[in-house]
């Protein structure tokens, strides 16, 4: 399957990965070889096979609706790079 540099840049952007100018071309090769491997699965007849949602064949255990977590804000915020008035602070983002 063919991939171009534009697609690589787009995927990198969506994943917020920085790419140097020459890296896009290198990743074209890497990604194409991954896709070639995946493409081999096309040869398998999957008619009537349900898509696999999870490799483990058990179902979800549910949790009773009770509050079990104590407030640990001070502890969590001691690891944060910047906090003020109980808020986490990040570089300004406005849509």
């Amino acid at each position: 399957m063919a991939i171009d540099a534009e697609q690589v840049r787009r995927i990198a952007h969506l994943a917020r990965i920085g790419l140097a100018a020459d890296e896009a071309d290198r990743y074209i090769g890497d990604l194409e070889s991954i896709l070639t491997m995946v493409e081999r699965m096309h040869a398998v007849n999957t008619a009537g096979v349900q898509p696999l949602a999870h490799p483990i064949d058990v179902t979800q255990r549910l949790r009773p609706d009770v509050v079990t977590e104590a407030d640990q804000r001070e502890s969590y915020q001691s690891d944060a790079p910047a906090v003020a008035n109980g808020f986490y602070l990040v570089p300004r983002v406005v849509e």
């Binding site: 969506l14 917020r16 898509p51 949602a53 999870h54 483990i56 058990v58 179902t59 979800q60 255990r61 549910l62 949790r63 009773p64 609706d65 009770v66 509050v67 079990t68 977590e69 407030d71 640990q72 804000r73 969590y76 915020q77 910047a82 003020a84 008035n85 109980g86 808020f87 986490y88 602070l89 990040v90 570089p91 300004r92 983002v93 406005v94 849509e95």
Partner: protein, 483 residues
């Protein structure tokens, strides 16, 4: 009729009223100090695992049954990937391929000048997801402040078919949905606090055209009025563009209630690629028919059934029934009141009239009404047994609102009992007729509207206490009868 047809579909996010969050044991409450109820799971710290809250599943099933929808036998969670500071994991846990609630429908009533019309709106699906936190841009200069208390709040996103054809229909749909979720007890539906939020997909097409026009999505409409205004604005905007030969750009728009306009937020084609995939942290959830039946056995009465019951049991009109039976709190108040008052129509008038205007004036919900339903019922029964007139009843009601107290005590203490002694009334009628010979002549010459003048004079003399029916009868008899 316009040559354009409006097509509207709504996506409604409902915050579920659980004790704890959807995937963590942190409390799910509104109004805590910033980040006081954000646990390690909500913060997306490394090594944590989400565990699904069973109450959330129950609530979604309850909603599904209320809209006659298919409930999935196996439902599954997916990751919706995007980057924003109030989404610490870099993905939102949502559902894509196997939503818990499938196709259903909702019957709505659209009020109109010429009476109500009924319509059925299709429900495409409803799925569970976690809410994100809140980004606040004006807290700290130059920085964005993040509060993750809301992160992990359980949401049910209810997606409608593009079945609505006017802003009024969209509002009617949202109102019915609001009434249902409140009846089901799955959410408080408080739109001011964001417990119910609505996005509207709006497009227009030439009347008769089968193909849908390009739509825009209006985000975060947090009141019935804003939904209506935003759709009306957007329809007009699209019409102007198309009539000028332009084309509509598919985009997300934000409604600005202060300026009453929608503004472009971001263009859809570029930004939206969420790269959904099944969440490996969460196994598929199975729902058995027995589970569904257990929920069904505990379904409360829903607005539509209640409206029908009120029409049958209390003999209310369709209009009155819609007004008092749609909202469960109003319906509960009405029923407690009518049980004492007896007269359903009169009670409905009081609940929709005097009581509603007091609640409006004092900005109170009916749950916190300043007059208890039984007390209002006793007041209404005093109108029926002719102890007081409707007009005096309003005075008594205002006193009850302000100072509390029982209607009978207020009537006695203030001497408001209606004057029904016909001897006394006759004397008053005679003296008014004697005192106003000029008006009497005019009345007898055919100016019968002057009856009101005489009524007014006597009401003034009695402080409004004369029995109006009796008074009218007496006056007419004397004026029309001559002498």
């Amino acid at each position: 009729m316009s040559q354009w047809e409006t097509v509207i579909g709504l996506e409604v996010h409902v915050q579920l009223a659980t004790a704890s969050k959807i995937f963590s044991g942190a409390p799910n409450r509104f109004g805590a100090e910033p980040n006081r109820q954000a646990s390690a799971v909500d913060l997306g710290l490394p090594g944590v695992l989400p565990v699904l809250n069973e109450a959330v599943v129950q609530m979604a099933i309850r909603f599904g049954l209320a809209v006659d929808a298919e409930i999935a036998a196996v439902t599954q969670f997916a990751r919706k990937n995007y980057f924003y500071p109030d989404l610490p994991k870099g993905y939102q846990i949502s559902q894509l391929d196997h939503p818990i609630v499938g196709r259903g429908h909702l019957d709505i009533i659209i009020p109109g000048k010429d009476g109500d019309t009924a319509k059925t709106v299709g429900i495409t699906r409803a799925h569970l997801e976690e809410d994100a936190g809140k980004s606040i841009h004006d807290q700290v200069p130059g920085l964005t402040a993040v509060d993750l208390n809301r992160a992990g709040t359980p949401l049910l996103e209810i997606v409608s078919e593009p079945d609505m054809r006017s802003a009024a229909e969209a509002v009617a749909y949202l109102r019915e949905l609001h009434a249902i979720i409140r009846d089901l007890g799955i959410s408080d539906g408080n739109m001011n606090e964001g417990s119910m939020r609505c996005d509207a997909n709006v497009s227009i097409r030439p009347r008769g055209e089968a193909k849908l026009g390009t739509r825009t999505e209006i985000k975060n409409l947090n009141s019935f009025r804003f939904l209506e205004k935003a759709i009306e604005f957007e329809v007009e905007r699209q019409q102007e563009i198309l009539e000028a030969g332009g084309r509509i750009k598919q985009e997300t728009r934000l409604y600005d209630s202060e300026r009453n306009e929608t503004r472009s937020m971001r263009s859809k084609e570029e930004a939206e690629d969420y790269r959904y995939f099944p969440d490996p942290d969460l196994l598929p959830v199975t729902i058995t028919p027995a589970q569904i039946e257990a929920v069904r056995a505990e379904m409360p009465e829903l607005p539509r059934a209640r409206r029908e019951r009120f029409m049958e049991q209390h003999g209310l009109s369709g209009y009155d029934s819609r007004m008092v039976a749609s909202d469960h709190a109003t319906a509960a108040y009405f029923e407690a009141c009518v049980a004492v008052a007896g007269d359903a129509k009169l009670t409905a008038n009081w609940v929709m009239g005097e009581l509603a205007s007091v609640l409006n004036r004092e900005e109170k919900d009916i749950d916190a009404a300043p007059v208890a339903p039984a007390a209002l019922g006793r007041l209404i029964s005093r109108i029926q047994d002719d102890t007081i007139s409707s007009k005096i009843a309003k005075t008594v009601f205002e006193i009850m609102v302000k100072d509390g107290g029982e209607p009978d005590d207020i009537i006695e203490a203030r001497g408001l009992r209606q004057m029904s002694d016909s001897g006394e009334l006759e004397r008053l009628v005679d003296s008014v007729i004697a005192d106003n010979p000029h008006q009497v002549t005019q009345y007898r010459a055919g100016k019968t509207k002057l009856l009101g003048y005489f009524v007014g004079q006597i009401m003034k003399a009695t402080g409004g206490k004369a029995n109006p029916g009796q008074l009218n009868e007496l006056l007419r008899a004397r004026l029309d009868g001559g002498s």
